[in-house]
């Protein structure tokens, strides 16, 4: 099957062949190449057994070793949130996580939210409210938004909560603050907030 990703892989390989050979001295001069580490992950309910260079981030393990390319690499430094996934029930930036440190962990990615072909309510709300334009940040936005609701259900306060000892209502200001780790270059923020508000209101009814 011809896919966009397959096309990119083919053209990428062609470009690489024309480029100068990689400098191998850099990694070998200081230390011997690292031994690969065995890493077991449960991703979206399925077991994965991987052998990874310890430098491999969780994001690269998902994308390059498990074929789960839904989680996106934006900034690769924890600032944009495109790589947001849920690990042991908590959202994190997978680009700043070393996969080897997550041996045994339970991971949910964007691919794991839909159940039996039916969109997760948050995915459906993003579609309904047009919470995206180019869509690159969307998997991270949706994973984050799902986590926002569970954090709010657990009574977590945020920076905009007037009294941190209270469990605040999920106002638009609360949603915006809690989503500040996810950047949208197309600036679909009002529609993202509307989608999250709708799912939150549906849950509380």
């Amino acid at each position: 099957m011809s896919t966009r990703r397959g096309f990119l892989k083919t053209t990428g390989a062609a470009t690489l062949a024309l480029a100068s050979p990689p400098a191998v001295g850099e990694t070998t001069a200081q230390t011997a190449p690292a031994e690969s580490e065995h890493v077991s992950l449960t991703i979206n309910g399925r077991q994965y057994a991987l052998n990874l260079d310890p430098r491999t981030t969780l994001l690269d393990a998902l994308r390059e070793h498990c074929g789960l390319t839904g989680s996106k690499k934006g900034c690769d430094q924890g600032q944009c949130g495109a790589c947001t996934i849920i690990v042991n029930g908590q959202r994190i930036n997978s680009c700043l996580a070393l996969a080897v440190m997550h041996d045994g962990d339970e991971i949910t990615t964007i691919e794991g939210l839909a159940e039996e072909g039916a969109l997760h309510p948050m995915q459906a709300a993003f579609v309904r409210h047009d919470g995206l334009q180019c869509g690159y940040c969307t998997p991270g936005q949706v994973c984050s938004a799902v986590a926002v609701l569970s954090e709010h259900r657990a009574g977590w306060p945020s920076h905009v909560t007037a009294d941190v000892a209270t469990a605040p209502a999920l106002t638009d200001a609360e949603i915006a603050e809690r989503m500040s780790g996810n950047i949208c270059r197309c600036s679909a923020y009002p529609n993202i907030v509307a989608a999250i508000r709708e799912v939150a209101e549906g849950e509380s009814q």
């Binding site: 850099e26 990694t27 200081q30 230390t31 011997a32 190449p33 690292a34 031994e35 580490e37 260079d53 310890p54 430098r55 981030t57 690769d76 430094q77 924890g78 949130g81 947001t84 908590q90 959202r91 994190i92 930036n93 700043l96 996580a97 070393l98 080897v100 440190m101 041996d103 984050s144 986590a147 926002v148 954090e151 657990a154 009574g155 977590w156 306060p157 945020s158 920076h159 909560t161 009294d163 941190v164 000892a165 915006a176 603050e177 809690r178 500040s180 780790g181 996810n182």
Partner: protein
């Protein structure tokens, strides 16, 4: 990223022994270290993963304080109801920093030991005395808008980026460590960080392999606690200036005051001068302004960051006004 050997520690003693090697580093949340390793600012030959050590609990102390394990995530500390009720300053400060994704991964010990975000420290094409000792400090005459104005030297004007540590400094927190020889010690948080002087690459008093195992919060002092942070955008940005204040007002007079600043120095800057100016003074705008003048008396700007000095005074006034319950 440079190659490294990975070791998963199962006990504190072996972790300390492994990390005592000059090319080894502890890793916990990794939100700062992994980023620095990608940029080859940090190039450890060995990483000692301490995340499986039993240091992730928040416990009551017999004195009525709390002991926060070094591996307690920033989120877990901020949302703990004991912290929220008794140390709201600490919850507020943690929630003012980073994003939820980062706070879920970042740890208490790692937050204390995170490196500066000075742009020259981060740019490996530029000199930096902290990154390459003796290479120079372009920040002195360069883009120093985010840099420090108090307690720094002509070799380094980097600012400490933590919010959490500013609140802990106002709360007189104690940092508990274990060394490779098994000895334990308790370091007042204000003495954890070393002034840059001629050795800005040495940032703390910790010895090689010495591990932060917990942070001890003494019982909270009387008074209202307020953390206020000023930054370039409303969320997910480092502080230009922040203030942690605890103000105890009796009638219209200040009975006791604690003041610590973020964004101004190589460490959270506790201001004994501001506190002395406040104690016994009327809880008024004039007193708060006098405290700000006392706190910043020895401050020095480097051009782009000159604005931090008046901004710190005004932020202190606003924070104390809120803590005093004045409008």
């Amino acid at each position: 990223m440079k190659s490294f050997r990975y070791e998963r520690a199962s006990e504190i003693a072996s972790a300390c022994a492994s990390a005592a090697r000059p090319t080894a580093k502890f890793i916990a949340g990794g939100t700062n270290l992994v980023d620095l390793m990608k940029l080859q600012i940090e190039t450890p030959a060995q990483l000692v993963d301490i995340t499986r050590l039993p240091l992730n609990r928040i416990e009551e102390t017999v004195e009525g304080g709390l002991r926060i394990g070094a591996l307690v995530s920033n989120s877990a500390a901020a949302v703990d109801m004991r912290v929220r009720r008794r140390y709201p300053l600490l919850s507020q400060a943690i929630l003012a920093g980073a994003s939820t994704q980062l706070r879920n991964k970042a740890t208490t010990g790692g937050n204390l030991l995170q490196r500066t975000r000075c742009p020259y420290f981060y740019d490996t094409t530029k000199a930096c005395n902290k990154r390459v000792p003796g290479s120079g400090c372009p920040a002195l005459e360069g883009l120093n808008r985010m840099n420090a104005v108090l307690g720094v030297s002509n070799n380094c004007i980097a600012a400490h980026p933590s919010d959490m540590a500013v609140a802990m400094t106002a709360l007189d927190a104690l940092v508990e460590t274990v060394a490779p020889d098994g000895s334990a010690r308790t370091i007042p948080i204000d003495q954890l960080y070393r002034p840059p002087g001629n050795t800005p690459h040495i940032e703390t008093v910790l010895a090689p392999g010495e591990l932060i195992v917990s942070v001890l919060l003494p019982p909270a002092p009387p008074g209202r606690q307020v953390y206020r942070k000023v930054r370039d955008r409303a969320s997910f940005a480092f502080a230009l200036v922040s203030v942690a204040a605890i103000l105890d007002v009796n009638g219209d007079r200040v009975r006791a005051a604690r003041v610590a600043f973020g964004g101004l120095s190589y460490k959270p800057w506790r201001s004994a001068e501001a506190e002395a100016a406040l104690v016994g003074a009327p809880a008024s705008r004039a007193s708060f302004d006098a405290a700000g003048i006392a706190a910043l008396r020895n401050a020095r700007g480097y051009g782009h960051n000159d604005f931090k000095i008046p901004l710190a005074r005004r932020t202190l006034r606003a924070t104390l006004t809120q803590a005093a319950g004045l409008s």
